[in-house]
Symmetry: C2
Subunit: 417 residues, 2 copies
Amino acid sequence: MTGSNILMTDLTAKARSAARYLAGVDDATKAAALTGAAQALRDGMADILSANATDVTAAVAAGISPAMLDRLTLDAPRVASMAAAVEQVATLEDPVGQIIDRRERPNGLVMERVRVPVGVLGIIYESRPNVTADAAALGLRSGNAVILRGGSEAVHSNRAIHACMVQGVCQAGLSADIIQLVPSQDRALVGDMLRAQGAIDMIIPRGGKSLVARVQDEARVPVLAHLDGICHSYVHKDADPDMAQAIVVNAKMRRTGICGATETLLIDQDYPAPAALITALLDAGCEVRADDVLMELDARTVSADAQDWDTEYLDSVISACVVSGLDEAMAHIARHGSHHTDAIITQDSATAARFLAEVDSAIVMHNASTQFADGGEFGMGAEIGIATGRLHARGPVALEGLTTYKWVVRGQGQTRP
Amino acid sequence: MTGSNILMTDLTAKARSAARYLAGVDDATKAAALTGAAQALRDGMADILSANATDVTAAVAAGISPAMLDRLTLDAPRVASMAAAVEQVATLEDPVGQIIDRRERPNGLVMERVRVPVGVLGIIYESRPNVTADAAALGLRSGNAVILRGGSEAVHSNRAIHACMVQGVCQAGLSADIIQLVPSQDRALVGDMLRAQGAIDMIIPRGGKSLVARVQDEARVPVLAHLDGICHSYVHKDADPDMAQAIVVNAKMRRTGICGATETLLIDQDYPAPAALITALLDAGCEVRADDVLMELDARTVSADAQDWDTEYLDSVISACVVSGLDEAMAHIARHGSHHTDAIITQDSATAARFLAEVDSAIVMHNASTQFADGGEFGMGAEIGIATGRLHARGPVALEGLTTYKWVVRGQGQTRP
């Protein structure tokens, strides 16, 4: 074994042991640990900001991009909202112990399916230090031990935040091993996490596309992630033009950097008001990369090339084309989509029903903005991410997605004939 | 691409297209396809038996083991029960379209979580030709396209059974691509299936430990499987001796070759009647591999070595040892178990509650035989297997385990503020 192997084996063994104990800990204790952690974050604000200043200074010296610098930088309001978020997770309903199925058999056996924590979660993330608090809080609330591996540019910030989270955990009488921060930035440790089958139960990457792609490519442990959010809004011929315009502009422009932002607009060839739609986007400051038909509607459009249909811009840019109808719209989404969130805008309920049934995405929407693709908007509270895989959990993943179940069978001496 | 790549790409593309269509097919049509397939199996009995005779002759000439020969061989009653099993799957409730969660938000958005098929299933199996019918039936009932890859020793039998299944599917007006049998025995095709991320959604191996281990080791597609069934029965000090004896003998000896058979007996040091337990197993024809303490109770016991605690015998052999109490029993299970099925026998409900909560297995039982670990016994109907992984589905996996869900969001023009 290499040095990194030995270190990861030690971390995961401690996490497994802590997870076994945590699975039986009551709701109030877990909530108290989170409330204590939130208070520790507030009390530790000076330390956190000082640690963050060290990271920021080094990052600026290393020539970090403005966007990454913004993600890395903490200030008092950001730390306060980090603490508030941890406190908010404490108020969410504990999913552990919920009975989700019960069968009483003719022979008297009672089978119950009971929610239990997944066990040990590995979180791999980049420059945002708040993930340290968020992921630890969601993991703990759902009874899981977490192993956190943040970006090297945020190492001091992450250590300071981690210390506060552990303080809350220990004050509640729980083991510090519930929330472990990988103590070294050795990149081999990420590989060790990804190959820790049986020792880590699920890996959740939080960060840019290159991080997620590496994790999905190398991991032997199951991964809960989305790689792309190439979301579509399809304006059907029977869409209400005012509604269509309001939804499309919102779906693209409200926040362009989130994974639920619409990246491609599909307009039915019989939709009566395509020019108004394109113009509204352009007027809102959006670049429109259009097919030949739509380019004729407004001189400010530019020509889309083949790559545009497969591109997640995360910016004030949209690709747009005309489709012959529902079938071509769904074929376009099947070919170019990322199984994240896709929406239809129409007043025709039969068309909407087919779209909702046949489009194979984690979230399908009718007459709503794709920007609603967010756990908070679904009433789940904080989310750990949006899953575009097909198994275990799909769409916004919050506490329930961090649990699994076991079958509990109670008898009175039954033997099988 | 190699030739096998090209072939697998073609198979999976057809399967995906068929799966997209099948996801919207109504319950009655799917049931009719299965009823038709059952009839085709009965009508095709002569062809199936003739094809099977070809396989059996070749297998005998190749020196196949008696156990494998038994698995391979079909006769009229076996074909009839294969048809009856397919017909029985037709009577099971269709899980597709079930609404498993519904939220109406303050802004008027309605979010429903709806069960949908997983999509494309890959089934990799060995000598049992009945898996061709079973897996195809369960896959179709839950709206999935299946790609079947059976053992080379059963190739003619599998083709004959597959032809009958396809006949039922086509008579119901569905595409033959819903149930595809890999047309070549090229072993590279198994590797292609295991690495078909995005093209195959889930691999289910059905067969011996070496097959399952290879699949788990090589697969990049998610695998639903169990590798081992090292099941434990723990006789607590407060167990009723008559009940304990009846359960333990049944758990080990009813059928020794199933994955839910108990392989290790843990006896509490304060249990009053250990000798009767050991003697009952020996009298039932079971070899008992015991620790030093238990060896003194009956001269017919043999000494267990270190490997015995990690061995799935699937035979009339049990390993047995004394434990100091509940904690040592649970520690033994955590160290040597396979997260399949583990049972406690006790009259003390607090002890049982701790065992059920803390033992980390797909199925935990109180005062019942581990031989009940079977989808049929859980009232699920036919099962595709028992999953010992932690995610997606755990324990007996039947129709519901072959589905996932999507979020369907309905609005009236909502945009996100």
